[in-house]
């Protein structure tokens, strides 16, 4: 798991010193807009997300119903622009519908882990010594497992399925998010304006909402986006091992796994789900990188 933490060192920015949130965000937005790579990545991602959302309109065929007589048709076949899969289903339609499940399986563990890990991290950061030790030491234990090992072990134990994939990846991502949030919270907590608020006897929840959260959220989000790419690759990897999403669902990892048998017959078709994973994961990584540099005030701009 601490292998994920390696990403954290890069992705999690330090809290900017005493910057008023509103102006800061405007600067960030401006920087992002000037970064062509990040904008492109964001645009491609938007297209992928829209295709997934509007899959019933974008798809040309039923993603689950195939024609056994027209299996493994090559790319460019009339009627099946991207070919057909091992039971004769249209690849384009399955890719489009597959985006739903793949994005869902990639995004939801990160989202869940951000919420759960964020709350735990805030508690650890704001709480007393005992609470902090309790939360952080438990995290340390889970941190001791390499992430892939932990995800595979959990899925291997509780069995395959969408819910189990999401559950296992959430467990994998919680500890690093707790760490990031805790360390950001402690940095913010020691700042003058928080000290001032505490001195004026503002209630704790108000301090968290007005002083801590706005300053912590940015860092958390940047770190979280950096995990989405990993999450998509890992969930597809679980399907690859037969531990993830189960057929006949359309999901990129599962498609990759099923088409692997045909990689010598129709290599291009068999490679397509892999390409979809690469593009999506690449765009998330580029976006996260762009956000990070835009938010890092120390970098020469």
């Amino acid at each position: 798991m601490a292998d994920i933490a390696a990403v954290q060192r890069i992705a999690a920015p330090e809290v900017a010193e005493g910057i008023a949130p509103r102006g800061y965000w405007r600067t960030v937005a401006g920087r992002v807009r000037r970064d062509r790579l990040t904008v492109t990545a964001g645009a491609i991602l938007l297209a992928i997300v829209l295709l997934a959302i509007f899959a019933p309109w974008a798809a040309t065929h039923d993603p689950l119903q195939g024609d056994i007589l027209h299996r493994l048709e090559p790319v460019g076949t009339p009627g099946h622009l991207l070919g057909t899969d091992e039971t004769g289903r249209d690849i384009w339609s399955r890719l489009v519908y597959g985006g739903r499940l793949s994005l869902f399986c990639g995004l939801s563990p990160v989202l869940l882990a951000t919420i759960i890990g964020g709350v735990l991290g805030l508690l650890a950061g704001m709480g007393g010594r005992l609470l902090n030790s309790l939360i952080m030491r438990i995290c340390d234990v889970f941190y001791a497992f390499p992430s892939v090992l932990l995800a595979i072990a959990i899925c291997g134990v509780i069995g395959a399925g969408i819910a189990n994939t999401i559950l296992s990846l959430t467990v994998v991502f919680i500890p690093p998010l707790v760490r990031v949030t805790e360390s950001l919270t402690r940095q913010v907590r020691s700042r003058d304006f928080v000290e001032a608020a505490r001195a004026s006897a503002a209630p704790l929840h108000a301090i968290i909402r007005h002083q801590i959260l706005p300053n912590v959220l940015g860092g958390m989000l940047v770190y979280a986006t950096s995990l989405v790419g990993i999450s998509i690759i890992l969930s597809a990897g679980l399907s690859f091992l037969g531990l993830g999403v189960t057929p006949p669902a359309a999901e990129w990892g599962l498609m990759l796994n099923a088409l692997r048998q045909a990689i010598f017959v129709e290599p291009t078709v068999a490679a397509l789900p892999g390409v979809a994973i690469v593009i999506t994961s690449l765009c998330f990584n580029l976006l996260s990188d762009g956000l990070r540099s835009a938010m890092d005030v120390k970098l020469p701009s």
């Binding site: 689950l64 119903q65 195939g66 056994i68 007589l69 299996r71 493994l72 091992e86 039971t87 069995g159 395959a160 399925g161 037969g242 531990l243 189960t246 057929p247 006949p248 099923a258 692997r260 048998q261 045909a262 990689i263 010598f264 017959v265 290599p267």
Partner: protein, 532 residues
């Protein structure tokens, strides 16, 4: 992918030193198995049929062996370390085996009646020092009717069964005989013994590199002079991934792969590889649950599903590596019998049966099927089931899948259909064999209801039960065949399973491999194979 010459030359030049040293031994056959690990080499292999195929029968003999010399019928029995066997006419639980004289283990010690008894103790006597729990579990789960034994004289051993069981000789090949002396020399440890085991087979296991390969060497002193291997060596390598096996065959690292992906077969043929296809006692069914709450409790629903699938389309999908199944046994087998129903693809009949049972297109049969992601004999479970699902949907079956990994399915099968392990599923897609005539008793008799046997769905037909019991009490082969055929005919009509296909056991062989004649068996004879 096109073969461009330039990058090929560049890459070849860069890596010349690597490529030049890839070895190609003469008269060595390298086989990629589907097993994920080397089956145990202590004489009783694990990993099911494949274990016995590569590290069982090539290296060891039973008192009785499988006969691979008649490829046009299901493999029968042939004398092994016993030259003859017969039932005691006065006691139908006592089998008398006459031992072959002058046979030696590969460590040079003779095969004696005492050695045979010692081997039986290894598997059946928990108090003997050589008791082997793992081997015992494998053999006993199959040969569970063996009761006790007796050394009659130096050339004769008697084995008793718990009840009269006429198919007992078919069980005996599972009990492979190893050298007691070698076990003593191995510090009385089966794990140690497995590093350099000694048996009497045509090959000798000469090297075991854990996780990588096992090497078998020709036993030039094999007692059956017609089966002294032509190969000097046979190397078996575990390779669970089909694509990995394919790549290894195409790049020349192995000469023979088990179960190539069906889709790759045309391109393999085009590239000059040999494809071996031959029937063997295998069936790929759904085992229906027949307890309360399952739609398959109704015989008409079971029959309807049997009429609703297009077996030929599935065979086509499998590129001809299977043939349609209309029963446990294939038509033409003496045990197939004369069932009244022949399950061709007949959507009209299927719909009529469903209508009779109270279902229809607006009120489809909802059923959940447990399928596995992979597993021994499971072929390509996911796409095959997806095809079935697509085929039967318009007819009025809404099939849902509970996809589990292989281990979970084995657990489900061993427990009752209504136990938590069954996940509440209505059918179980698990491939099975019928190598011996007792198979029907194991799958369809009331005595074999799970968890006591593998009649998982609790099928019961009193007539079938009576016929099967009579058959195993009978010691007259003609009578046995008549009874079993009658039982099978009724079973087909009762449709306790969805009969889908029989696998044709595809293998892909390099053009260099010659002389392989497949037997209709889960096991094969490698002694006549050569590599040019």
């Amino acid at each position: 992918m096109t073969r461009t010459t330039l990058p090929r030359i560049i890459a070849a030049a860069l890596l010349l030193s690597f490529a030049a040293s890839v070895p190609a031994f003469a008269q060595t056959l390298r086989i990629a198995m589907t097993a994920a690990d080397i089956p145990t080499t202590s004489g009783i292999p694990n990993n099911g049929g494949e274990g016995y195929r590569f590290l069982g029968f090539p290296a060891f003999d039973g008192l009785v062996n499988w006969d691979f010399t008649h490829p046009n019928e299901i493999a029968g029995l042939t004398p092994g370390l016993a030259t003859a066997w017969k039932i005691d006419p006065s006691d139908h639980t006592r089998w008398i085996f006459t031992l072959r004289q002058g046979v030696k283990f590969t460590d040079g010690t003779p095969v004696t009646a005492d050695a045979i008894i010692w081997n039986l103790q290894r598997l059946y006597d928990e108090k003997s020092p050589q008791f082997d729990p793992a081997g015992s579990a494998i053999v006993r789960s199959f040969v569970n009717m063996l009761d006790h034994w007796q050394k009659v004289d130096d050339r004769t051993v008697a084995i008793y069964t718990k009840y009269p069981f006429s198919f007992f000789p078919y069980m005996v090949p599972n009990i492979l005989i190893v050298s007691p002396t070698e076990w003593q020399k191995s510090g009385r440890s089966w794990t140690e013994f497995a590093r350099h085991p000694a048996g009497t087979g045509p090959f000798q296991i000469s090297k075991v590199v854990l996780g990588q390969f096992a090497e078998l060497t020709r036993n030039a002193n094999y007692w059956d002079k017609t089966r002294i291997p032509k190969l000097a060596k046979m190397i078996v390598i575990p390779m669970p991934e089909a694509t990995t096996r394919l790549a290894a065959l195409r790049s020349g690292e192995v000469d023979w792969i088990e179960v190539p992906p069906p889709d790759a077969i045309p391109s393999l043929k085009a590239a000059g590889f040999q494809i071996s296809l031959w029937p063997y006692p295998h069936v790929w069914p759904y085992m229906f649950k027949m307890t309360d709450g399952s739609p398959f409790k109704d015989e008409r629903v079971r029959q309807a599903l049997n009429y609703a699938i297009d077996r030929d389309a599935i065979v086509k999908f499998l590129n001809g590596t299977a043939k349609p199944a209309y029963g446990l046994y294939p038509p033409g087998n003496p045990y197939f019998g004369t069932p009244e129903l022949r399950y061709g693809y007949d959507p009209a009949k299927a719909k009529a049966l469903l209508k009779e049972a109270g279902y229809g297109p607006d009120h489809p049969v909802e059923a959940k099927i447990m399928i596995s992601t992979a597993g021994s004999g499971q072929m390509l479970p996911e796409p095959m089931n997806e095809i079935i699902q697509q085929e039967v949907k318009p007819i009025g079956f809404d099939l849902h899948f509970d996809v589990v990994e292989w281990g979970t399915m084995l657990v489900a099968k061993r427990n009752g259909p209504d136990s938590p392990a069954g996940h509440g599923d209505d059918a179980l897609n698990n491939s099975l064999g019928f190598a011996d005539p007792a198979s029907m008793f194991r799958y369809f008799s009331k005595a074999s209801w799970s968890p006591n046997g593998i009649n998982w769905g609790h099928f019961y037909d009193p007539k079938v039960d009576a016929l099967l019991t009579q058959a195993q009490d009978s010691f007259d082969p003609t009578q046995q065949t008549k009874l079993l055929a009658e039982a099978h005919g009724r079973i087909v009509d009762d449709a306790p399973w969805l009969f889908v296909v029989h696998d044709l056991n595809p293998r892909a062989l390099s053009p260099k491999v010659k002389g392989f004649v497949p037997a209709q068996s889960w096991y094969q004879d490698f002694t006549h194979v050569t590599v040019e």
